[in-house]
């Protein structure tokens, strides 16, 4: 395209920017800038016509020469003088009009360069600040979110550890301990019952001894009776012996007394044995009743203890089941949260992208200022080197998807974390 064409389009863009209201000033200005960037990039700078009097006045000079030639050719008549004067005036008028147009173009260019400079110093820093502010807000929010998730993971971990102790070693151990204790109580009851049974057997044995004692007492009474009979017979025989038998009669009398005493003692023994036998029978009956009551009580206790243990076992098993479920669910939640934390790493990637773009935007004001300084110094429009700016942006990329976006390909999906350990890891 001809340089004049380039200049015209720049001026038109700038004029539209000036006509826009204050609210969309930046947008219009950027539109004008993009219009400039979309134009074929000139390889050299473009100088506008100089407004110094010598060169632009070629039309006046040409018309003056033409007037002189006309005067010489037509002689010294009035008409030739008028024609020459008219040509001089026309030349001067055309010259002035061209100068005015060039001056307006130069002023418009200066205004455009100044506006792009203002774009660089006023608008682009705001854009960059918005990007940076958004990046920081996102980082703060994601960091807070990560912190919360980390807290949840920690608490779940502690809960799991606590429930693990309560489940495997606490509940089961408590149940086993209680079971042992209560079985011990039952065993003690059974031991006591066995002792009672042994005592009952001993009492039964005593009953047998009582019968023997009663038999022995009866035998003593019988012996006393027979001794008494012998003493009576001895007394009769002593009487038959007369005076010689008097001493023997005294002896027989004493034996009778002794047999009477023996008989009384045997009777008392029989009486006492009877009393003892009755006491033993009463004690045996009482022991039997006690044994029956203890057996019934032990049976009831065993039933109650078994019932308690069964219920305890049921509660323990239910708690174990719910604890196992809780553990499973908690572990599942932990996995989900860790996965969420992995996904939150998107913030790092987005933050890097935003930083790269912000740095590139922050480079533009200096380039626009340099362009303005160049224009102010030489009066020539110096285009911003978009290729260099793009090159700097591309050079700042760290991620493959950034490069793909820059190349204009289809948007790449964000990369996922490697599924297998040590995948995507390079060891040196």
């Amino acid at each position: 395209m001809h340089p004049e064409g380039v200049r015209f389009r720049i001026i038109e863009g700038h004029r539209r920017a000036e006509q826009s209201d204050a609210n969309d000033q930046g947008f219009r200005t950027s539109a004008a800038l993009s219009q400039v960037e979309n134009l074929p990039m000139p390889t050299t700078t473009h100088a506008f016509p100089d407004s110094t009097p010598l060169l632009p006045r070629w039309q006046t000079t040409a018309f003056a020469l033409a007037a002189g030639v006309t005067t010489v050719a037509c002689g010294r008549g009035l008409s030739s003088a008028i024609a020459a004067s008219a040509m001089l005036v026309a030349g001067a008028w055309l010259d002035r009009r061209r100068q005015g147009r060039d001056e307006r173009a130069r002023q418009a260019s200066a205004a455009f360069v100044a506006s792009t400079d203002r774009l660089g110093h006023d608008v682009l820093p705001v854009w960059a600040a918005h990007i940076e502010n958004s990046r920081q807000q996102m980082e703060t929010a994601v960091a807070a979110l990560t912190q919360r998730f980390a807290g949840i993971v920690d608490r779940l971990d502690q809960t799991l550890r606590a429930s693990g102790q309560g489940d495997d070693k606490g509940l089961s151990a408590a149940f086993a301990h209680s079971n042992d204790e209560l079985r011990g109580v039952l065993d003690s009851l059974k031991d006591a019952m066995a002792s009672n049974a042994a005592m009952h057997t001993e009492v039964q044995n005593l009953s047998r001894f009582v019968a023997e004692l009663q038999q022995m007492a009866a035998e003593v009474a019988d012996i006393a009776q027979q001794t008494n009979l012998l003493a009576i017979n001895a007394a009769i025989e002593a009487a038959h012996a007369g005076v010689e038998g008097r001493g023997f009669a005294v002896l027989a009398q004493e034996v009778r007394k002794l047999s009477a005493l023996s008989g009384a003692t045997g009777q008392r023994m029989a009486d006492k044995v009877g009393v003892i036998g009755e006491a033993i029978r009463v004690a045996r009956d009482a022991a039997q009743a006690s044994a029956r009551r203890e057996a019934a009580s032990a049976l009831a206790s065993e039933g109650a203890i078994n019932g308690v243990l069964d219920r305890f076992r049921g509660v323990t098993q239910a708690m174990e089941a719910s604890t196992a479920e809780l553990k499973q669910e908690s572990a599942g939640i932990q996995v989900e949260i860790v996965e969420a934390l992995v996904q939150l790493q998107f913030q790092d990637r987005v933050s890097q992208r935003m930083t790269h773009v912000r740095h590139n935007i922050e480079r533009l004001p200096d380039l626009l200022s340099a362009s303005r300084r160049s224009f102010d110094a030489s009066g020539a429009l110096a285009p911003v080197d978009a290729e260099a700016l793009l090159g700097e942006l591309e050079g700042s990329y760290a991620m493959a998807d950034e490069r793909a976006t820059h190349a204009g390909g289809a948007p790449m999906a964000a990369p996922q974390a490697a599924a297998a350990p040590l995948e995507e890891v390079t060891f040196f």
Partner: protein, 122 residues
């Protein structure tokens, strides 16, 4: 005694994610927000492994590795670069500086722990 690992990254959220992964595996964790901050915090500490990003403000990861390798106490401390940077040229720079491994973000905690266990001596 628990081993100490330093994570260096300018992203606070990423430091937290790495920290959670390492602490859950029983490691103590130190954090640095960039290379310069990490160098400052390494002084007087016993660190068994360093995990670092590459692109950071103030001092980037590669420069930090070079500086750490000059410190007698950390000359043989393994350093893992954990970064989004996938360019082979950067990897070569990391290797030349003295890094032991190059790991791409995003990472999975099991993946990170496998690398840590491989490099941290028992």
């Amino acid at each position: 005694m628990a081993k100490t690992i330093m994570i260096v990254d300018d992203s606070a959220s990423l430091r937290q994610v790495v920290g959670i992964s390492l602490r859950s595996a029983g490691y103590d964790v130190l954090e640095g927000s960039d290379g310069a901050d990490a160098l400052k915090k390494l002084t007087g500490q016993k660190v068994h492994l360093i995990i670092s990003d590459v692109n950071m403000p103030n001092m980037d990861g590669i420069s930090m590795v070079k500086e750490i390798k000059k410190l007698p106490a950390y000359k043989f401390t393994p350093i893992v670069m954990l970064t989004t940077e996938s360019a082979d040229g950067k990897k070569a720079e990391g290797q030349a500086a003295g890094a032991k491994a190059w790991m791409l973000k995003p990472f999975n905690p099991p993946q990170l722990l496998a690398v840590v266990q491989k490099l941290v001596l028992p």
